[in-house]
């Protein structure tokens, strides 16, 4: 049976929203940890705000709250229904998309998504503080993993699968690029080779936000270095949140669509454009070109993939 354009769209966004909920939870966890350990005056608020900036939520936050403390930021990122990127909004949007395509996803996927939403929507924000907040953030990540597990374990490898996977990895690529861009200045090469205390804190934040603080050691066998961190999150093919890894996943799934439908579309050119940026290059070249410029270029090309994908497969 041929797939409705709307179904393809719903599948793409279903996966994107699940991934986004997971990334929001991870980011908030980082902000929360940093705010606990910061010794400087006003440090907690500073960390939380830079974390909001990474998620491009700082302006929306400032419209609603005067003070950035753990309670206001946690509420805003987890529960605020007026924040379209809060975990609440993401899970609701994901579940709505899933409900629209009940017939195109498996029972296991539906039950995972429906269960996550039903549980989350029962939670009262004021009951979630301190240790409970960390527990809940972990829960969000786990539900995202559960959904992805149900997806990988049960769905047919057809066009629906390709749209789901493309959505997942377009979102992840965007997230990693934004985290890096937020802190790009602490990754720039400098005359002093050893990072100061502040640098180490910032680097840790970046790595944790990508769940990469432990795997870093496995790959580099070295202390944290700006060059390595950037390399890890941009160019390492074994790092499942790196830009190149995500780009490869997008490529593979768009190629699957081309194979199934027997035709390449505008989105395939856009995907090749994105790949060109992260393939056949190294960190020295990227630094020479400018890290900030590079990341923005990547984000733009990644957005182009979504736009052309929508047009190529009749999203509406």
């Amino acid at each position: 049976m041929r797939m409705l354009g709307r179904t393809a769209q719903n599948l793409f966004w279903l996966s994107r929203y699940v991934e986004r909920a997971e990334n929001m939870a991870r980011l908030l966890e980082v902000g929360y940890r940093m705010s606990l350990t910061s010794r400087r005056e006003g440090g907690a608020s500073e960390h939380l705000i830079s974390m909001l900036q990474a998620a491009e939520m700082d302006e929306a936050f400032a419209e609603r709250h005067d003070v950035a403390d753990v309670d206001t930021v946690a509420y805003f990122m987890m529960f605020d229904p007026t924040n379209p990127s809060s975990v609440y909004s993401c899970l609701q949007a994901a579940r709505t998309n899933a409900r629209s395509v009940r017939t195109a996803i498996t029972t296991d996927m539906w039950e995972s998504m429906n269960g996550a939403w039903l549980e989350f929507s029962q939670i009262k924000p004021r009951d979630v503080r301190g240790a409970k907040l960390l527990g809940l953030l972990q829960w969000v990540r786990q539900r995202s993993h559960e959904f992805r597990g149900a997806l990988l374990g049960t769905i047919l490898r057809d066009d629906g699968f390709a749209f789901l996977q493309a959505g997942n990895f377009v979102e992840r690529a965007d997230n990693t690029a934004r985290i890096l861009d937020m802190k790009y200045y602490v990754l720039l090469p400098r005359s002093s080779l050893v990072g100061g205390e502040i640098d180490i804190q910032q680097w840790t934040l970046i790595l944790r936000a990508a769940s990469a603080h432990r795997s870093y050691g496995h790959v580099y066998h070295d202390r944290y270095k700006a060059h390595n961190i950037a390399d890890f999150l941009i160019l390492r093919t074994e790092m499942p949140r790196s830009l190149v890894y995500c780009a490869h996943f997008v490529r593979d799934n768009l190629n699957l669509l081309a194979k199934l439908y027997g035709r390449r579309e505008a989105c395939h050119d856009a995907m090749e454009d994105m790949l060109k940026l992260v393939e056949g290059t190294n960190m020295d070249q990227i630094f020479a070109h400018g890290l900030h410029e590079f990341l923005n270029d990547f984000i733009d090309r990644n957005n182009r993939v979504t736009d052309t994908l929508s047009a190529s497969y009749n999203f509406y």
Binding site: L4, A8, R102, Y261
Partner: protein, 473 residues
């Protein structure tokens, strides 16, 4: 009819168990303490997890409830069912013949058997359907007939739902749940299967595909979308029969043909099982403000390029005012006497009948002619004096807007209430498919009024459902 003690489907008046309920009665006696309550909790969890929910109108958008499911099945004997299904088949054949006639030569009006005004001035009459030739001459393909039982051999038809009857997914899911919860009870009984419904639905829809469709007609289920109260059912049926689930925006008309927008371009659609009301189907033909429908779809239908199921305009045959004439209709088209009873209905526009109705309102049921879902109705014996007065005023103000019937003593079935078993009133909605042949699923949806003494079984008014068993010989 109307006796004080309602007919109980499990127990005779002397307390002995009626034959069809023997196995159930033994099984109930064997259940451990709290057994039913545990089963009930399991059932609720199953339904919620599967997302078998309905949206509640008037509450916050997206609020979803699970219809209460009762774990004690309702049982119908084989010979009882044979009689019922013969009566149902007769009824749906006559009603389809009536629809063909009304939208063509109108012989029944010319013969003076039904007042012309009642049809032609009726809001449910659809003039756009005049002269149109639907595939196989069928208008109402999917029908839910509401039936109540008042005695061992006494059944009444309350309503023929010929527009877009809902609830069939509950019939199917209730059976699934029941088989999961009480496999041992199934082993002791011979229960006719209901899970053939989706396949029969598909066959019915394929059988009415337009002449130009290929060997494998493309079938779509047209839903108003995820906020509709019956959305679960729409997606469930599409999934079960391997059809495409579409919203209005997924379809478009080009050159008098209907297409869906797919990832690889337009694909022709042959049969549309639409779960959108007539009024919203096509903004070019019906309500111009409709955002749910498909512009031009009615013209494509008229041109014979697509089949709409059910046809627009079937409401003229299940209108509450036309209902009174169904025995007449059966006789006129089939030359047979009606096998199933109609509930006697009083006509309030008749001065004498109205006077009698107003006098006896405390004993009667008043229904709005165009009401549904248990809204706009009053059950005399369970209403207050103030409500009686209110409805008297309404009848006097608009006598043509109400029909009045005696209060039927709906049969009761044993029902699980707070870890106890108590009789509750039930009705029955069997589902009928009409295409190349008439296919009736054994049983149907039993709705049960969970409130003690209540006669209103609608889910919007606190009703639940039961698995319905037709025993095989």
């Amino acid at each position: 009819m109307g006796e004080n003690t309602p007919f109980d489907e499990m127990y005779n008046a002397d307390g002995s168990v009626r034959e069809p309920y023997r196995a159930l009665s033994e099984w109930l006696a064997e259940q451990p303490e709290k057994g039913l309550a545990l089963m009930q909790a399991d059932a609720e969890a199953i339904f919620r997890k599967l997302g078998i929910t309905f949206a509640v109108y008037g509450s916050e958008e997206g609020t979803e409830k699970v219809i209460p499911f009762d774990v004690i099945p309702r049982i119908i004997a084989a010979n009882e069912w044979r009689k019922l299904s013969r009566g149902i088949e007769q009824r749906v054949k006559a009603l389809n013949a009536f629809l063909y006639d009304i939208y063509h030569r109108q012989e029944i009006l010319k013969a003076g058997r039904i007042p012309e005004k009642l049809i032609l001035n009726n809001a449910a009459f659809c003039p756009q359907m005049m002269g149109l030739e639907p595939a196989r001459g069928v208008y109402a393909h999917i029908i839910g007939v509401d039936i109540v039982r008042v005695g061992p051999d006494e059944f009444y038809v309350l309503e023929d739902n010929l527009r877009t009857p809902s609830g069939v997914s509950y019939m199917l899911e209730d059976r699934e749940a029941m088989m999961m919860l009480a496999p041992d009870l199934f082993q002791r009984s011979k229960v006719a299967p209901v899970e053939t419904y989706p396949e029969n639905l598909r066959r019915t829809l394929e059988s009415v595909a337009p002449a130009g469709a290929g060997r494998n007609p493309v079938i779509a289920v047209l839903t108003p979308g995820i906020y509709n109260s019956a959305y679960f059912e729409h997606s469930f049926l599409a999934d079960q029969m391997g059809a495409q689930l579409c919203e209005g925006q997924d379809l478009f008309v080009d050159g008098g043909k209907v297409y869906m927008r797919t990832t690889t371009g337009p694909e022709r659609v042959d049969v549309i099982y639409r779960r959108i009301d007539d009024d919203y189907l096509d903004p070019l033909t019906f309500r111009p403000d409709s955002m749910l429908g498909v512009p031009g779809i009615f013209d494509a239908y008229r041109a014979g390029n697509v089949t709409l199921v059910n046809a627009p305009g079937t409401g003229i045959a299940d209108d509450k005012a036309v209902y009174t004439y169904v025995p007449e209709i059966i006789e006129f088209y089939l030359g047979e006497k009606a096998l199933l009873n109609n509930v006697p209905t009083y006509n309030c526009t008749d001065v004498d009948q109205r006077a009698w109705v107003l006098e006896n309102i405390a004993e009667l049921v008043v229904k709005e002619v165009h009401g549904s879902g248990g809204y706009g109705m009053m059950v005399g014996p369970t209403s207050t004096k103030a409500q009686h007065e209110e409805f008297k005023k309404k009848i006097i103000a608009r006598p043509d807007n109400y029909i009045v019937q005696p209060t039927l003593a709906l049969s009761t079935c044993p029902t699980h209430i707070n870890n106890d078993v108590a009789p509750r009133h039930v009705d029955l909605r069997p589902y009928v498919l009409v295409g190349d042949e008439v296919r009736i699923t054994p049983g149907g949806l039993t709705r049960v009024a969970l409130k003690k003494g209540s006669l209103v079984v609608n889910s919007s008014q606190g009703g639940g459902t039961k698995d319905t068993w037709v025993l095989e010989d």
